[in-house]
Amino acid sequence: MKSLRRFLIRLANFATGQRADQRLGDEMAEHLAFQVDENLRAGMSLTEARRQAAIKLGAAEAIREQHHAEQSLPFIESLFADLRYAVRMLLRSPGFSLIVIATMALGVGATTAIYSVIDATLLHPLPYSHPSELVHIEANLPGVGARDVGISIPELRDLQNSGIFQYVSLSFFGTNDLTGSAQPMSIASKSVSPSYFAVLGVDAQLGRTFDPHDATPGFNLEVVISDGLWKRAFGADPHILGKTLRLDNDTYHVVGVMPASFRDQGQNSDERSADLWAACGFFGDPAPAPMRGTRFPFEAIARLQPGLSPQAAQGRLDALVASLKKQYPADYPSQGAWTLHLTPLAETLVGNVRRSLILLFGAVGLVLLISCVNVANLLLARASSRGREMAVRQALGAARMRLIRQLLTESLLLFVLGGITGFAVLFCAQKFLLQFVPESMPRLNDISISWGVLAFAIVVSVAAGTIFGLAPAWLTSRLDLTATLRQEGRGSNGSRRRSRLRQVLVIGELALSLVLMVAAGLLLRSFWDLFKVQPGFNPTRVVAIETSLPNPNDPKTDIYHTATQEAVLLREVLRRNRAIPGVEETAVSDRAAIPLGHSQNDRRAVPLFREGQEVQTSQPPQIDTAVVSPEYFHLLGMTLLRGRLFVDQDLETTPLVAVINQAAARMYWPNQNPVGKRGRLGGLGRQRPEWITIVGVIADARTESLAAAGIPQVYLDIYQRPAKFLAFYLRGQVDPAAISAQVRTQIQAVDAELPVFRAETLDDVLSSSLSVRRFSMEMVALFAATALLLAGLGIYGTISYLVNEQSREIAIRLALGAQRRNILRMVLRQGLGLATAGAAVGLIGALIVSHLMAGLLFGVSPYDLSTFGGVTAVLTAVAIAASYIPALRAMRLDPITTLHSE
């Protein structure tokens, strides 16, 4: 309390610049006068009395100083003095300051940029209250190798009653056709069980969300819409509540509008930008009756009871699973080994980008380290020119700690200015920079340059400034006074130590940039290999345009319920599309068949029952299915290996046929000809699925992911199995910009209520499927280039310094008749020595790093010899080039002027 009061008074005195010199002066004068009086009383003469009084008082200046120290805050005062001095030094060598600030701005700016992405994605992935309570529930059948098989309604009820969760919900992402406005729209929507918003813990800005205890069997015909949709489609109508929407030909009421800040959770960016939520119980029309074995491939998320850790919850869940298995042995056959697995929701959202982001953060950290090393190197270089200044200060009585403090203040000022500059550039350029972040990045919209990011930038610069400013300050202030004053620091002990440290720093810089370059090289090779990989289909000159057919809750009102009904539409649209000028070929498929399409959500694995094998197991393997028209394979250039493709004679009335890919043939009919074999594909159908005969095998194509070859796939004929979400393909000489409108006209000429959206060339789809990889590759390459540049500058500076140090020696050698060529070689050898040492250290680091990033590579070994060799060669070349300029200077040294100037 007392010391706080004292501190505040001192702070106030410091801030107001209030000084007590006058008061102290008066007090001392009076003190002296009293002492003189006393001395006179003791019988001294006046002069003697004054002399003795002055002696007794002591050094007036020292008293004044100590008094002033108590009056104000000397530490802060000297800090300000140091700062003033630092600013003067900074302005005196503007070139040096500019380079240091720019280097640090680069390092801190880049690190902060990546941090802002990480802050939004990895650190705050879920914009909901108590995000750690949110979990994703996944049902697996490890016994038959099936993952995420979904949850049935009785299982959902068991989970809700288990006491482990506050709320559990199912959700299903899809699209709905919104009709009634000027242009039919396809809306990203979620069918959710009524407790969905209770799980997330969010409320509507207008109206309400669904009541968690609502027990509608099917859709309850109420929807909640997003703020975006509210503004886009309804002009932010304040009376929106209670209005009706026509979705897939059903009528819904709007009951709530979510706040603008609300973002849905989900695996991909489509899902996260859902615009509409409809509540559904999933146990009445259109869903089948609630049987324990009827599992929905829906996403189950839940909110744990407060204070329950995911581990503890998993334990209780395992117990529940065990008791359910005992209770319903028929529904959980032992060979399936049914399990329920909890994952923190945050992890499922960022899992796929985590590695890329950590790689980027590592890379940018190295760039920051290299910039710091570079700046430390520059500070050391300046130290040699300030040796005399330091010596004079020490000779005048400055303590070493005081000098270090002053030098540290100078470097901290430079680092912090650099950091703030970097942050400012980032802040101004954030719009521009965000364009380069791939859209598939989770929470892209929430990446922002916030106060937290500013704090990060400042903390990083201060930490870097302290760490990398301390060593140069230490060495600069450590000198042999007499030697330095006599010969201006040349050849003194301190300078030799400094030059050794500079060499170590340059070696470190070279090593770090080698690590980065190897990482960039490997990523580049992977990306190139992926880009060059034979996808097994031909994407050139193909445009895909999507549409979706209404899917009303009552099948009786569905005008496209059967394949025959739908075929009329499809054949007519295909005929009209073929007539568009420039179009050579057309085809149609369901959305799951779009090669590398971003709607991975449409990829639905269904159980495959093979004839003759169904006796062994009632838990069949899961296989991806796609529904395509006969022309699909030819349009995409997929080759038939065996049997036949679909033909026009395959109709709803003829036996069901399927085409599988080679991977499926290898996995499910090994060592036999699958053509003619029969199987059933399970699904949500209420009746027993029909037998399907395999009629053909096509070559594997990388339609799921460029990086993954041979994912088993079964294709069905769209004229036998209707699909709601369609993609029309057009191959030919068409303008992708204009084609969308042309196709829309054609489709809507057949059915004016169909939305037409998202026209993309397959080349674009293919390239955006690589977007995260490309992003990290480009970023790491950029960082590596920066690192190389900095390392080049570092080695240039160090060699120049060495040449400067040795100029006398070189001049003597030249005067004694040394060949100029030899001088050049001598300097270059020094550069090469540094490069070799740097490369050796760097190669070890690179081996460790490449081992760690093996999972991010494709088609290239983490120890790829050509990458390592090439990068080392580039680094050596740069090092030699950077030493060449000072070497030339050394060679052209005029011995006479040099020796005279000494």
């Binding site: 007392k2 007090e27 003190h31 008094h67």
Partner: protein, 115 residues
Amino acid sequence: MAEKPDVLQGTLALMVLKTLDMLGPQHGWGIARRIEQISGDILTVNQGTLYPLLLKLEHEGSIASQWGASENNRRARFYRLTAAGRKQLQAETHDWEQTAAIIARFFNVKAEDLA
């Protein structure tokens, strides 16, 4: 000639407070002189320590000061004890006595007392 010892660090504050408590408001020289007298001129008060200390005590609120006229009509700055200072003096006196008593006991103890 033997140097007179300076006042022990940390005890000067206590002496200043005690002096002011005993003699009422005093000016700087007066405080220094009294402390020296009371110590029997064994101690000298370093002015370089005294004035900053007075300022510190004032900042802490233990004493207050104002200009006034001295006994021989010279203008002088007088320091006086505040209520907080009086409380501090009591606390510190108590602490000091305790410490002194412990030290004294250590000096007086004999080996046979501990047997």
